[in-house]
């Protein structure tokens, strides 16, 4: 009988969480595993967006005598939306830094700021949708507008879910404190939030900029 030492079994458990060591090696491995799965989910989600982008590009000339991109998009509002979202990614970084250094109240303040910026983005987007619909340029108008609304509203829905996640994580920070599971969840909410930024940069460069230029 060959003897194999139990230390081999530890080999797999010495993997760090991407946020650094949150707890024991075993719990780090668990949270690292969750982070990995979340990355896979984001890959899958980015393909949803890739296909919505492709759908938009194919339908961009399917305007059916309705407006074209350059007639309805305003650079000003798109720029404001971009600014709010990019800024919120920065403030999310501040939440993470404060939380990791154990400053719960500071983290909560940054969390509120992030939430307000995200909510501001949603408000601007809804205003844009409302104006388009009021002008008769709703999603029913043409294939081009259908694909535009499908793409941008899917991103907007993601931001909305991001806001719900922010609210939940704030509540957990208040009721549970900066415990290991809460930090681990914060990391994944952060991945999601930064991911939305990336997608928005795609929307800004592929939908709004060419439409305006």
């Amino acid at each position: 009988m060959t003897e194999i030492t139990a230390s081999n079994a530890q080999e797999i458990e010495d993997k760090e969480h991407p946020m650094g060591n949150l707890g024991t090696p075993a719990s780090n491995a668990k949270h690292g595993e969750r982070a990995l799965g979340f990355w896979f989910y984001l890959m899958s989600d980015s393909i949803i967006f890739a296909l919505l982008f492709a759908n938009y590009e194919v339908l961009i000339n399917g305007v059916a005598d309705g407006p074209r991109a350059n007639e309805i998009f305003e650079i000003g509002r798109a720029a404001q939306e971009t600014a709010l979202l990019l800024l919120s990614s920065f403030t999310f970084g501040m939440i993470t830094i404060s939380a990791l250094s154990g400053k719960r109240n500071l983290a909560l303040i940054w969390l509120v700021v992030t939430f307000i910026l995200g909510a501001g983005f949603i408000v601007l987007e809804l205003l844009e949708f409302k104006e388009l619909i009021d002008d008769g340029h709703g999603p029913q108008r043409s294939g081009f507008l259908s694909s535009f609304f499908a793409l941008v509203a899917t991103h907007g829905l993601h931001v909305l879910f991001g806001l719900i996640m922010l609210a939940v994580i704030a509540a957990q920070m208040l009721s549970k404190g900066l415990t290991e599971p809460v930090l681990s969840r914060l990391y994944r909410v952060g991945l999601f939030w930064h991911f939305l930024d990336l997608i928005w940069i795609g929307i800004f460069s592929i939908v709004y900029l060419p439409g305006i230029l």
């Binding site: 080999e11 990995l36 194919v58 043409s142 415990t179």
Partner: protein, 653 residues
């Protein structure tokens, strides 16, 4: 208040539909009555409905798949009998009803028979093969199952309330658009696969992370059993391709509900966007289904030949090449829709190239058996039958890849014969081999061998009789999806095809008899060793059925077929003494979310929007409640582990 739902939704329009509804409702009532009579509700709730154990979830998946196999098969035999009867007279099915049947048949067999069967086998086996105690996310695993079940429930209830889609299992616009299909049928199709698709994506994430992070110490990627490799590749395809299904169905739904124009003919929409997005999922789906079946064939050929799998490394590379190429051939599903000759040629050649790694696999299985001590157990019959039939299907597939030939064969029953020739031997035979092979692991006794062989011959001969005539009929020009056939020259071959369907019916009834006989004789068939086939991989090192923690002591493995090698050398794979084990706790939340998802889907189909939004809020609330849970594990002490292991007599610990 009730949206589009009214008394008109009941299937009073035809006696055939009414009897289908009656059978569905009666089946449900019988299940409820049986559970009540045996006072099994508490047992069911504690052991299955709330479980997060991958083994029980796997069993539930397979039960779901077998129920849906019955339903899907009755659709098939109705189509066959209708076509035979229609040559002589009118048949018993209205055209509209016939269309519902073939749409439901395709949808059920792909989404709710083949996929759950695959997920079930993977769920049961994957952690056992890599030496893990569970999948990476046990709760999410339960959620995946209940979302799949919710989708299946929507298809089943469409038989009772309202109608199912008449747009085929692919739901092409403009026919599936609101103008041509104003009823709820297409909505049932959309919501059932949209909801179950979420479950499948989550399973894939679960399987990939389990393989990456939960392998036994010492097990490098190139030591993994070949089934695990195929699961990894199939899960990667799911992760990359199921989003396309989500997008295709969601945009089609938006077109139908909000009168949008993504896929319409008018107002600047483009139906080819649907065809492209749908088949970006749909083609890879074939490989999602077939790769795990190939993995099972690899395990079966090695075990029952008492020999190492021939060309392990080449099998892995072939699997990887198929994974990549599976995403490059989708356009061959619509060669006839007016792409340029250049585009068609590129996709035709890509389609032919994918046959090369597949052919390599076939040769490897034959070389595995060559000069091996082949034991002709019913399990390896499925492999042999598969090799014979799949090669024919592959040849007709290459015929379709020649674009000018495809122009003539497309939309005839030749195409129907071809894809059944890939899916039934390639996928279903593989899963049935896996069912036979791993049944003793899951339940502790083997399946009856005599009935096993009868079932095989029923499927094998039934398949040949049912589908070879369709090749000939297709060449004679019989279009697919035809409810009424007037040309009497088609009659003889249609009769042969109907006889084939009856042989398959015999095989399916045989499967039920086999279960009954095996359970009755379970003491004689009992597997006390945990290793009834002289297996080669880790799942055979533990008792049958396995304890909830799978491995009492962590196994160490550093070669391919490590268990077979250890048996040869007389070594133990088990590390150290017994330890305390943490296992995930059961939770009702996954089941609850599944039920609410079903309600949400039903509400969306009938446009009962208040109920839909209430359901969404409820799902969100349940998810948030679950996210508060920091302690979802309980501990089994080393002492209890020892006790449980000692109660398995005859298994060396």
């Amino acid at each position: 208040m009730f949206g589009r739902l009214s008394m008109d939704a009941l299937p009073l329009y035809s006696p055939v539909a009414l009897s289908g509804a009656a059978v569905t409702v009666l089946g449900a009532l019988v299940a409820v009555a049986v559970l009540t009579y045996f006072k099994a509700w508490g047992w069911l709730w504690r052991n299955y409905l709330t479980t997060v154990d991958h083994k029980k979830i796997g069993i539930m998946y397979i039960v779901l798949a077998l129920i849906m196999l019955l339903r899907g098969f009755f659709d098939a035999i109705m189509m066959r009998s209708q076509q035979v009867m229609s040559v002589a007279g009118e048949g018993y099915l209205e055209g509209d009803h016939f269309q519902q049947i073939f749409s439901a048949h395709g949808t059920i067999m792909i989404f709710f028979m083949a996929m759950p069967f695959m997920s079930g086998l993977i769920n049961y086996l994957l952690p056992l093969q890599v030496g893990a105690r569970d999948v990476a996310y046990p709760y999410m695993n339960a959620l995946s199952f209940w979302l799949t079940a919710a989708g299946a429930g929507l298809v089943l209830i469409s038989l009772v309330v309202g109608k199912f889609s008449t747009a085929g299992w692919t739901g092409y616009p403009p026919y599936s658009g609101i103008l041509r299909s104003p009823g709820v049928g297409v909505d049932y199709w959309i919501w059932s696969i949209f909801i179950s698709g979420w479950g499948t994506t989550m399973s894939a994430i679960n399987f990939i992370v389990t393989i990456i992070r939960r392998r036994a110490p010492g097990m490098k990627l190139m030591h993994m059993p070949i089934f695990t490799w195929t699961v990894l590749c199939a899960s990667i395809i799911i992760l990359l391709c199921f989003p396309a299904l989500t997008v295709a169905t969601a945009l089609l739904g938006l077109d139908r509900i909000f009168e949008m124009h993504n896929f319409t003919n008018e107002a600047g929409g483009n139906i080819m966007n649907f065809a492209n997005i749908f088949w970006m999922w749909g083609h890879p789906e074939v490989y999602i289904l077939v790769l795990p079946a190939f993995g099972i064939f690899s395990e079966v050929s090695a075990t029952f030949s008492s020999k190492k799998l021939y060309g392990y490394k080449h099998m892995v590379s072939a699997t990887a090449v198929i994974t990549i190429f599976s995403m490059l051939v989708w356009l061959h599903h619509f060669f006839t829709m007016g792409s340029s000759a250049y585009v068609n040629a590129v996709f035709g050649i890509a389609t032919m190239i994918i046959g090369i790694p597949t052919g390599l696999k076939i040769f490897n299985w034959m070389f595995t058996m060559y000069r091996g001590k082949v034991r002709f157990h019913s399990t390896i019959y499925w492999l042999l039958g598969f090799i014979v039939l799949f090669v024919i299907g592959g040849a007709t597939g290459v015929m379709h890849a020649i674009v000018p030939v495809d122009y003539n064969l497309h939309n005839t029953t030749f195409l129907v014969a071809h894809f059944h020739n890939m899916i039934i031997p390639g996928v279903l035979f593989g899963y049935l081999a896996g069912y036979n092979y791993w049944f003793p692991k899951a339940f502790g006794f083997q399946l009856d061998e005599k009935w096993g062989k009868r079932i095989f011959w029923g499927w094998f001969l039934g398949f040949i009789c049912a589908f070879m005539p369709l090749y000939a009929l297709g060449l004679m020009g019989l279009p697919r999806r035809t409810a009424e056939i007037y040309d009497p020259s088609f009659m003889p071959l249609l009769v042969v095809a109907f006889i084939g369907a009856c042989l398959v019916l015999f095989a399916i009834i045989g499967m039920l008899i086999q279960l009954y006989v095996s359970i009755k004789n379970r003491d004689k068939l009992r597997d006390t060793t945990g290793d009834p086939w002289d297996g080669r991989t880790l799942e055979w090192t533990i008792p049958s059925p396995p304890p909830e923690f799978n491995f009492a002591r962590v196994p160490y493995i550093d070669e391919i077929d490590g268990y077979a090698e250890a048996k040869r050398k007389g070594e133990s794979l088990k590390l150290g003494p017994y330890e305390d084990i943490e296992m995930p706790k059961s939770t009702p939340i996954a089941f609850i979310i599944g039920v609410i998802s079903f309600v949400a889907g039903f509400a969306a189909v009938w446009q009962i929007w208040w109920l839909f939004f209430v359901s969404l809020v409820a799902i969100l609330a349940a998810t948030i409640v679950r996210s508060y849970n920091d302690h979802d594990e309980y501990e089994i002490t080393a002492e209890e582990v020892k006790e449980i292991m000692e109660s398995h007599q005859g298994v060396s610990s």
